[in-house]
């Protein structure tokens, strides 16, 4: 009742100041605060509405088991709507609430926060977002991509194609990409590999919003006739590309998609799993619900007398949310252990993050190894292929052309 009165008062004043006080009065004694940005309503809501519950459920699971090293985790979530100014507001809010880390959501958002994170000594994670150069821990000490960057994905895609085709010498590969900075990012890697591996590369740009690509796909399938297609599309465009390639009679088994064209939702929007038989997807977290940690989450819901969330079925994004949360929890666990149980600071958590190794959650996470220099953790991916109505793992965790990627990261660092 008291809380209601306080909140009502806050509403009446519409000041928010009082409301903050009400929230803090219920804070627990021993807790660490995680700042979590999400997009549940903006242009990437398709991802956010599934990924964010995954993140929250994992944190709830940890809390239901007594927290991390005796500390409860309190999540402060801000929906940044994929806009940049709210991301800055969110970061300041997290700082005010005493957060030890900032789970950033979105590529322009992490770009805008890089500097602030460093100044505030609070680490930010950006799995699947942001520039590949951010893997360089020396250059961006507080930015942690923690998942394969677009450069690593490009290397892995070529590796996968090489395995499929035997040799790449004299082969033709088409790269169809969304025409924005993130879409263009893999180009230097692909161009270099085309030279060193001896394949012919032709690129096809799809302009925003990426729902019209009939011309590009026709160009690929009828004129260029490549041996393999690497697709790097976002939002609605992956499903359109599946439909178009299927419609033009190109075998989907000769397509490999980067991580944002890889969700069940994309395939279902293209007409269902049956239509997309053979479509290869790249993943930086495990797919499906067959992991012990997901079973634990289901058990947690059952114990509360509730059904497990329906988002869980959309396992590609849900599991990525779980992965982000899991890596962050491990970092905080390392930090608390290193301090002998004392409350960690942002700097401690950064060190904790940089000592993560061998946390796999039964295969949901790649064999990540984060170090002070490598904030990407190795750039591991898996390939999952649509087979018989579901995604089946066809290639376990692997890295593609790691030395080339590292060379580019070093070259990029020396440029600035």
């Amino acid at each position: 009742m008291m809380r209601f009165v306080k909140s009502g008062l806050g509403a009446a004043l519409a000041a928010g100041v009082l409301a903050f006080g009400a929230g803090e009065a219920f804070a627990q004694q021993k807790e660490v605060v995680f700042g979590f940005q999400c997009d549940r309503t903006g242009p990437t809501a398709l991802v956010g509405t599934v990924l964010c519950p995954g993140y929250r459920d994992y944190i709830d699971l940890i809390n239901s088991k007594g927290g991390v090293e005796g500390y409860k985790i309190r999540v402060v979530e801000v929906d940044n709507e994929y806009k940049v100014p709210p991301a800055m507001e969110a970061h300041e809010r997290f700082k005010k609430e005493g957060a030890v880390l900032d789970a950033v959501y979105g590529t322009p958002q992490i770009a805008a926060l890089n500097k602030k994170l460093e100044e505030d000594k609070m680490l930010g994670t950006s799995p699947g977002f942001g520039s590949a150069a951010a893997a360089d821990g020396k250059r961006y000490p507080y930015t942690f991509p923690i998942a394969a960057s677009y450069w690593s994905q490009a290397g892995a895609a070529v590796e996968f194609v090489k395995e499929k085709l035997g040799s790449l010498k004299g082969k033709k590969i088409a790269f169809i990409f969304y025409d924005n900075p993130a879409g263009k990012e893999p180009l230097p890697i692909l161009e270099e590999l085309a030279k060193s591996e001896g394949f012919e590369l032709r690129t096809f740009a799809v302009p925003a919003p990426g729902v019209e690509m009939g011309a590009q796909v026709l160009d690929i399938t009828s004129r260029y006739k490549p041996d393999f297609v690497i697709a790097h599309l976002f939002g609605r465009s992956p499903s359109v590309s599946i439909k178009e390639f299927k419609g033009k009679g190109y075998p989907l088994s000769k397509i490999v998609s980067f991580v944002w064209g890889s969700a069940e939702a994309d395939i279902i929007a293209a007409g269902g799993m049956a239509v997309a038989e053979g479509y290869n997807t790249m993943q930086f977290a495990g797919v499906g619900t067959d992991f012990p940690v997901l079973k634990d989450i289901q058990a947690m819901y059952k114990a509360q007398g509730k059904q497990p969330p329906k988002e869980m079925e959309s396992s590609v994004y849900y599991n990525r949310g779980v992965m982000t949360a899991a890596v962050q929890v491990e970092a905080v666990r390392n930090a608390i252990k290193a301090k002998g149980g004392a409350m960690p600071t942002g700097e401690d958590v950064k060190k904790g993050m940089e000592s993560i190794k061998g946390v796999t959650l039964g295969g949901l996470l790649p064999p990540l190894e984060l170090t002070p220099t490598d904030h990407e953790g190795g750039g591991w991916v898996q390939i999952w292929t649509v087979k018989g109505g579901k995604l089946v793992r066809t290639k376990d965790w692997f890295q593609g052309f790691r030395s080339v990627i590292q060379k580019h990261i070093a070259a990029d660092a020396s440029k600035s």
């Binding site: 300041e92 700082k95 322009p108 500097k115 900075p181």
Partner: protein, 355 residues
């Protein structure tokens, strides 16, 4: 009730033309200046300062757009792109030539003014919705150009990191320091706009807005003034973009896409077209409302929902309430928050009498 005009006599032309002819208005301004320059930064936490910082930047952009849309009657859907022009100009100058902000900031503004005037050329022939589409094309062309010309964008990522601005050796790297930096430019923009609209140029803008044929007949060169309006308005937008660049430490065109142009149009329509105060109200409303709504919902919502369910509810509800409130305010007062404020003021001016 305090706002009495009776007994205020002017004896010189200068005092009659003063920005604030009434003593009460003058003292209010002094009070506000003290509040924003001294009281708020000394008392507020960094978090609240960071919100004010975002509002200050938005005020500059909203004022610029209002000069064009509200005062001159020309619509623009390209202001997001004009901001990015300013942002990239300043970032390139700051990084490649190492220029300080007091040179890059006007340079960014001037470049945006130039590009804005170019995009504004169709306004000489077309009006209304047609002009909206022409400026929309401008927005998309500028976005495409930045995306595809590495000389401007600095590489595939299309983002250029800029160093923090420094003033006499003081690096502006905290919200507290940036507060004064941004407050200065927001105040400058407000004062400049107030003076612009009561000048010869401002009156010409208003004449063009009210009836451009009539304006031409009384001797206003509407070609010149329409382009000038685009240039001045884009100058503000460019400066706004430069401020964003220095505030975030990076120029990135993805932060200035079409949605930003629309956000700023929303600000001035909600605040009140053709008014300086309206631009400020609009910038505050659009920036602050989502934050206030979230904080309220976070506390009230916990009574009904569990914490992780609440996150979804907040996002959806906030969007719906935000949209609903915009419609509500526009129905209550189509001329915006500024008119609402004036209605309140004129009510109390004669209070307790009705006339």
């Amino acid at each position: 009730m305090f706002h009495r005009e009776a007994g205020v006599f002017k004896t010189t032309y200068a005092s009659d033309m003063a920005l604030y002819p009434l003593p009460i208005a003058k003292w209010t301004m002094v009070g506000l200046a003290v509040l924003f320059a001294i009281v708020l930064p000394m008392t507020l936490e960094e978090y609240y300062l960071s919100i004010l910082n975002l509002i200050f930047i938005a005020v500059v952009g909203a004022l610029g757009l209002n000069i064009l849309v509200g005062y001159t009657g020309q619509i623009s859907l390209g202001h997001g792109a004009f901001m990015s022009v300013g942002a990239y100009t300043a970032a390139n100058l700051a990084v490649r030539l190492g220029l300080p902000f007091w040179l890059t900031l006007p340079a960014g503004g001037l470049m945006a003014a130039f590009i804005g005037a170019l995009v504004g050329i169709p306004s000489l022939r077309i009006k209304g919705l047609y002009l909206a589409i022409a400026t929309l094309a401008g927005q998309l062309i500028i976005e495409w150009t930045i995306n595809h010309v590495p000389a401007i964008s600095g590489g595939a990522q299309a983002s250029i990191e800029v160093p923090r601005p420094d003033l006499f050796g003081l690096v502006l790297n905290t919200q507290f320091r940036l507060y004064f930096f941004l407050l200065f430019f927001a105040a400058l923009a407000i004062i400049a706009t107030l003076n612009l609209i009561r000048s010869r140029i401002g009156r010409a803008f208003i004449a063009v807005r009210d009836q451009d044929i009539a304006a031409e007949i009384i001797g206003i060169n509407i070609y010149r003034y329409k382009l000038l309006a685009f240039a001045i308005s884009s100058f503000y937008a460019g400066v706004c973009g430069v401020l964003y660049t220095y505030y975030f430490g990076i120029a990135n065109y993805e932060a200035f896409q079409l949605i930003v142009s629309i956000d700023y149009l929303a600000m001035i329509i909600i605040g009140g077209l053709g008014s300086v105060l309206g631009s400020i109200f609009g910038a505050i409303f659009v920036t602050l409302l989502p934050i206030v709504l979230r904080i309220l919902l976070e506390n009230v919502g916990l009574l009904i929902f569990s914490e992780s369910e609440l996150a979804n509810v907040i996002s959806g509800t906030r969007l719906a309430v935000f949209g609903g409130l915009i419609i509500f305010f526009l129905i209550v007062e189509p001329e915006g928050l500024n008119r609402l404020w004036r209605n309140i003021r004129s009510y109390f001016r004669v209070w307790p009498f009705s006339y």
